[in-house]
Amino acid sequence: MADTLSFSLVSPASEVFSGEVDHVIAPGAEGEFGVLPNHAPFMTTLKNGVVRILSTGKDDMRVFARGGFADVTPAGLTILAEEAVDLASVAPEEIDSEIERSRLELKSRGDDEPGNARLVEHISYLEDLRAAI
């Protein structure tokens, strides 16, 4: 019996994490859940939030995922996210300035320009991300 969990977290832009871990805690649509090795098959959508990856001997890794989806199989756990960033790799100041910039851009745009909805979504994603740090 495997005593580690093979876990991968992928977004369309990149493979954020892939490897053997002990424990993953993810924000499920109906509540936070943890996955240990040999978990029963399980599938759920995720809320925007932080996925915590725990493995012994290493620091916890915290990844912010938006539009996520988790799939637990006997082979391991896969999280697919529309956007995902390792929280250790982002600086709060950068996010603040990015939020500022996006807001200004939204203001400078016309009312029904295409892409507005996407920009609003982007800002709310950044705000969630900022709050998660």
């Binding site: 369309p12 832009a13 493979e15 029963a40 599938m43 959508t45 006997p74 529309e82």
Partner: protein, 295 residues
């Protein structure tokens, strides 16, 4: 024999053409690298999503119920929508022509089977080439010339939404994407991919559950409902990325060939030029010598 002046003119014109093709080749090589990285980075996500969808559909099929329409289809197969994805620019060898050829073949087969065909073109070149014969089947066109870098996300999302809407409105029953898959720098293969009803690739890895039963949160249907549009978008996006990488690769190869051809042409012309020059010198010498002898 062309005059010396004419030959000189031709040599310099071929040389300047060579400079242009060489520059285009280098630009394509740089763009190819970025496009290839983008295409490769998107592959794990697409593959995983395909595997999950395959798993879900296997489970849904065993359940026996219809499932969402994006998966089960409209129950008919009368109207086919073809999305033909080509480049915005030419100068990339047979890249566009090959994709269009594949699309024409597909159109021919569908028509022979008595189906109604509608076409959405993505990229200017395909529209131009298909327009002559099949212009009356066009229902829409997606312009990718404004896309900067390889950020096709917005274009893919837009097209995905548009497709879902048209499907809801019953405008078509089956949607198929025709595009060139990027295998490597030398080979781009035109392929078709069925988008609606969603059909996970047959080679997608399905996982043996060892008799266990999946638990779904919130529910199987809701998960499928959120995942299927995403799967559709991902497939369109990956098609766009593959096609962009393929275009640059084809362009690089075509420009490399053109540069080499120009080089050969320059060599030939230079040889001719030198021979002509030598002949003229010899002729002048003979004239001088025979003039001197006549004295």
């Amino acid at each position: 024999m062309a005059s010396l002046k004419e030959l000189k003119g031709r040599i310099s014109s071929v040389k300047s053409t060579q400079k242009i093709t060489k520059a285009k080749q280098m630009v394509a090589a740089a763009k190819l690298k970025r496009a290839q990285e983008a295409a490769e980075a998107s592959r794990p996500y697409a593959a995983r999503l395909a595997a999950v969808i395959a798993n879900l559909t296997a489970a849904a099929a065993s359940g026996g119920e219809g499932g969402p329409k994006l998966l089960s289809g409209s129950g008919r197969e009368d109207t086919h929508l073809l999305l033909v994805m080509t480049a915005e620019r030419g100068l990339c060898g047979g890249f566009n022509a090959n994709t269009v050829k594949r699309a024409k073949q597909e159109i021919g087969e569908l028509r022979a089977a008595g189906k109604t065909v509608k076409i959405i073109t993505i990229g200017k070149k395909g529209r131009e080439q298909l327009g002559r014969e099949y212009g009356d089947m066009f229902v829409d066109h997606v312009d990718l010339s404004d896309v900067k870098g390889n950020d096709f996300t917005e274009a893919a999302l837009g097209l995905g939404r548009e497709l879902a809407r048209r499907f809801e409105d019953g405008e078509f029953d089956v949607a198929t994407l025709v595009f060139s898959e990027f295998r490597n720098v030398l080979s781009q293969v035109p392929v078709t991919r069925q988008l609606i009803p969603a059909k996970p690739p047959e080679d997608a890895e399905t996982i043996d559950l060892k008799g266990a039963i999946y638990e779904y949160e919130p529910s199987e249907e809701e998960i499928l409902e959120t995942l299927l549009p995403r799967y559709l978008n991902t497939q369109i996006l990956s098609g766009m990325l593959e096609s962009a990488a393929g275009e640059q690769a084809a362009s690089m190869t075509a420009m490399d060939n053109a540069t080499r051809n120009a080089g050969e042409l320059i060599d030939d012309l230079s040889l001719q030029y030198n021979r002509a020059r030598q002949a003229q010198i010899t002729k002048e010498l003979i004239e001088i010598i025979s003039g001197a002898e006549a004295l």
